[in-house]
């Protein structure tokens, strides 16, 4: 988990910022249905982020591979952690609404 969090930390500022923007949009819209749109926004921003990492920041993968993690494992677990954070933040937002 320590290794995955280290990988996640690299992109956490961008990723959590997008999640918070999603929450603000849901709050501002006043409609829970906006969550669906926020989900797609999150989905495409993560696709863009991982695409950027895959194309331009792939030099870091040898480090994680030496720790036993393939690119695929890192991507999947990054998405799992990030969507978990997104769900928690959106849950809190819907309760606050």
């Amino acid at each position: 988990m320590r290794i995955l969090l280290t990988f996640y930390k690299n992109f956490s500022v961008v990723s959590i910022t997008v999640s918070l923007i999603c929450c603000v949009l849901v709050l501002a819209s006043g409609s829970p249905y906006f969550t669906v749109m926020a989900f797609w926004m999150k989905f495409f921003s993560n696709a863009g982020l991982l695409g950027y990492v895959h194309l331009f920041r792939d030099d870091q993968f040898a480090f994680f591979a030496n720790l036993g993690y393939s690119q695929k494992q890192l991507y999947l677990q990054f998405l799992a952690i990030d969507f978990l954070i997104w769900i928690v933040l959106n849950g809190i937002t819907l309760m606050l609404r």
């Binding site: 280290t6 690299n10 870091q60 040898a62 480090f63 591979a65 030496n66 720790l67």
Partner: protein, 217 residues
């Protein structure tokens, strides 16, 4: 017990250019294997295939005759030519993730003391390389593949690293490729040259001339 890493049956081509066609490399724990070859001969590709970070059209990587079907299984560690430690991780944190005590580096290179607490981009290229070589050599893997471990390191530290590798080979097998070929030749228990996609065992240094790797010895 001696363990054996064998690489063979490797076929790699890019855009119909055959890079690796007839490969046989054998490395036992307790040995340092040198791999030499001209630029573009496929040395780095071969190491990446052995590690699992590059897919070949066919390959057979075995440890003690057991095929290594799963990549990155931690039996094999790999130092790439490019910087290893990502710039967003401090060197101390990187060592922690590999459960490596910084002291094992400081015992050999006391001048690395300040660098250990920095991020890799904040230290000199040579010191970064030393720390990365030491990190790979201190992983728990049984075999270490080192791609240009001496590049950018000053001669006095190269000698220290060579002594350290000679010591480390007691517990693991090491495959090393570097264009500082005299160091590689001096260290190696067995030397291969890679030419025309094939590996040839070097019995006589003059074969390096005949294979077109050096002009003269």
């Amino acid at each position: 017990m001696r363990e054996v890493l064998e690489l063979d049956g490797i076929y790699l081509e890019y855009d119909l250019a055959k890079i690796l066609t007839s490969i046989h490399v054998k490395c036992e724990t307790g040995q340092i294997i040198g791999l030499l070859g001209r630029n573009g001969s496929g040395k780095s590709s071969l190491l990446r295939i052995a590690f699992g970070s590059l897919q070949a059209q066919s390959k057979s990587i075995r440890i003690n005759d057991v095929p290594q079907l799963k990549s990155f299984n931690r039996n094999i560690s790999y130092l790439p030519q490019q910087p290893l430690i990502p710039s967003f991780i401090s060197i101390q944190k990187a060592l922690q993730l590999f459960s490596i005590d910084p002291q094992c580096i400081l015992d050999v290179f006391p001048e690395a003391k300040d660098a250990i607490n920095l991020k890799p981009d904040e230290t000199s290229g040579g010191m970064r390389k030393i720390i990365e070589v030491m990190l790979i050599l201190n992983t728990s893997s049984r075999f270490s593949l080192l791609d240009e471990p001496f590049s950018g390191i000053m001669p006095v530290h190269v000698e220290t690293l060579k002594d350290y590798m000679r010591n480390k080979k007691k517990e693991k097998g090491i495959i090393i490729t570097d264009h500082l070929y005299r160091h590689v030749m001096e260290l190696s228990d067995k030397l291969y040259v890679l030419a025309n996609g094939k590996t040839y065992v070097v019995h006589d240094e003059h074969e390096l001339v005949s294979r077109g790797y050096v002009r003269e010895l």
